[in-house]
Amino acid sequence: MNTIRMAWRNIWRSPWRSAVVIGSMSLGVWAGITMIGWATGLNDARTMSMLDDNVGHGRVQSAAFMESQDPRAILPHLPAIIEDLQRDSTVTAFAPRVVVQVMIQSGSGAAPMMALGVYPEAEQSVFSAARKVVQGSFLQDLESDEVVIGEELAKRLEVGIDDRVVLTFQDVLGEVHSALYYVAGVYDGASNLLEEMMLYVPVLNISRQMHLVDSLAIAENGRFPVAHELCFRVQEPYAMDPSLAHLEAQDSLRRWNVFIRSQIESLDQLALDGTPLVVRGWRSISPELGYADEVMAQSLLLFMTIILLAMAFGILNTMLMAILERTRELGMLMAIGMNKRKLFALIVLETILLSFAGLPIGLALGHFTLALTAKTGISLKGVEKGMAEFGIDSTIYPVTVPEFYLPIAALVFVLAFLSALYPARKALKLNPIESMRVL
């Protein structure tokens, strides 16, 4: 007869009481796991929406562009990089972009913006914002003087399709240019902020005006002659570290970076057109999305802790009742020679077993609920509009969260141990003779 078996049998001395505690623990864990799965599903949907809309899953940029958005820092050997990217089986689509800081003006106002010089077809294969044009159409070619702006900006500047706007920017030679563009389309972005921040122009139109590219380069570099960054999508955005490592090891990046490092050592300076190339995943490109994941995980664990803490008080109460009912027996155990360490271990074990009995049931129920709703989805039609503001579909698809099971088990263990301390202390303070007098 070991202590664990004795503790287990002691739990079942009051089967109904223990069943209620185990049942409530199961329900608490089920509710917590389900809530975590739903919230994670919602957060994943929001993150995916942002990635799809504009962030992308990964980007290749030069270090100089990444750090200072210097317009001169275009990607060297772009065709070679694209070739490497296309060879990577995990990469599903890519879109080169030129990024320029501009001021947009209409008859009604002006606003600082980020102009994305895009290759329309490639852009639409990677980003959904380019596909969500609600008025007019997206850009059709690489050279026209058309612009696609966000809905919010269109309202603010009071412009519509075919209206004229002026973009003002500084070229790589330091001269300020102003150019007239026609509004070809209005897009519906994932957020209002995005719509007020980004506009699309044909890549060669803006590149020529910026003096980023000349006819020779256009002729030599084929389909994609110029870009500041190369955005791409992968099959598994939540597990893209191997893709990033693989891309970094590709010839186009590796050889260039080895060459650049040797230049840095000899010249002791960084040439703008000669900085290393970096491949970054979305967590690095848009750290706030990664932080949101982390904060969400921590908040959910905190929420789970609160649920389990409430459970712990119930368990503490149950154990106190058990100690009270078994005062005579505990006194006898001490009288015949059970020392305090063993008595403490017995009570702690009873508490932990009582708490843990409900854990697998709750986890299994939670997992089952999430697996089921992950297929069917949960419709939130009532708040459809609000969710759309954040670019999230009104049907949430919860996800199973096995990564939380171990931390939850550890939490249950710690809380059970803590809730055992007071009843155990009460038991240890019992006097054997006085306890055995209790009827």
Binding site: E329, M334, I336, G337, I433, M436
Partner: protein, 224 residues
């Protein structure tokens, strides 16, 4: 040297109504292999004296030497261990552990002592056979009669081969037949295992079987 030696043992309870002397200066000794009954009417201090000998209750004054060790001077932790290693207890209300079988109850003390399962189960079975309950080894206390439970309690008390067994009114809750059976068993074990038995009782059937009687009155040994 006597197995147990009591030197001028007092136990005084203080209360708001004043002090009550439960044991008032008892000095006596017990030799190995004794079958002794401490007798007297209710409230004469039998149980208090037994508890003091068993290290369950601290005397207000005096010394209790067991195998030369003054247990009054032992710290609480050492006293628990001393009880585990040297003393067997049989209580009036049996006090078996309800979730354990007769075999597990009997082997419980041995488990506390850290004896291996095989050895403790063999010893427990041997004792259950001795008390005539081998066939009930796997029954829990609620499946046994009062007499049977007390026989398991005796088996438990003897499992670790203690230096002596203290039995507080062991027959108080038993009918005549069960009492006789229990006394027969204890007498046999006293003969066979040379275990010292000290009873507190006012049951004449126990007194008749005791080989030594210590009469107690108002907390003092009455001179006969």
């Amino acid at each position: 040297m006597a197995l147990i030696e009591l030197k001028n043992v007092f136990k005084v309870y203080e209360s708001q109504a004043g002090s009550v002397t439960a044991v008032g200066g008892v000095s006596t000794s017990f030799e190995e292999g004794e079958f002794t009954a401490i007798v007297g009417p209710s409230g004469c201090g039998k149980t208090t004296l037994l508890n003091a000998i068993g290290g369950l209750d601290q005397p207000t004054q005096g010394e209790i030497h067991i195998d030369g060790v003054n247990i009054v001077a032992l710290k609480d932790r050492n006293l628990i261990d001393f009880r585990l290693q040297h003393i067997g207890f049989v209580f009036q209300a049996y006090n078996l552990i309800p979730v354990l079988t007769a075999l597990e109850n009997t082997a419980f003390i041995l488990e506390l002592q850290g004896v291996g399962k095989k050895e403790r189960d063999a010893r427990a079975m041997e004792l259950l056979e001795a008390v005539g309950l081998a066939d009930r080894a796997h029954n829990r206390p609620n499946q046994l009669s009062g007499g049977q439970q007390q026989r398991v309690a005796v088996a438990r008390a003897l499992a670790s081969r203690p230096r002596f067994v203290l039995a507080d009114e062991p027959t108080a809750n038993l009918d005549s037949k069960s009492t006789e059976t229990l006394l027969d068993i204890m007498a046999q074990l006293n003969d066979k295992e040379k275990t010292t038995f000290i009873f507190s009782t006012h049951d004449q059937r126990v007194i008749d079987r005791a080989r030594r009687i210590i009469p107690l009155e108002d907390g003092k040994i009455k001179s006969v």
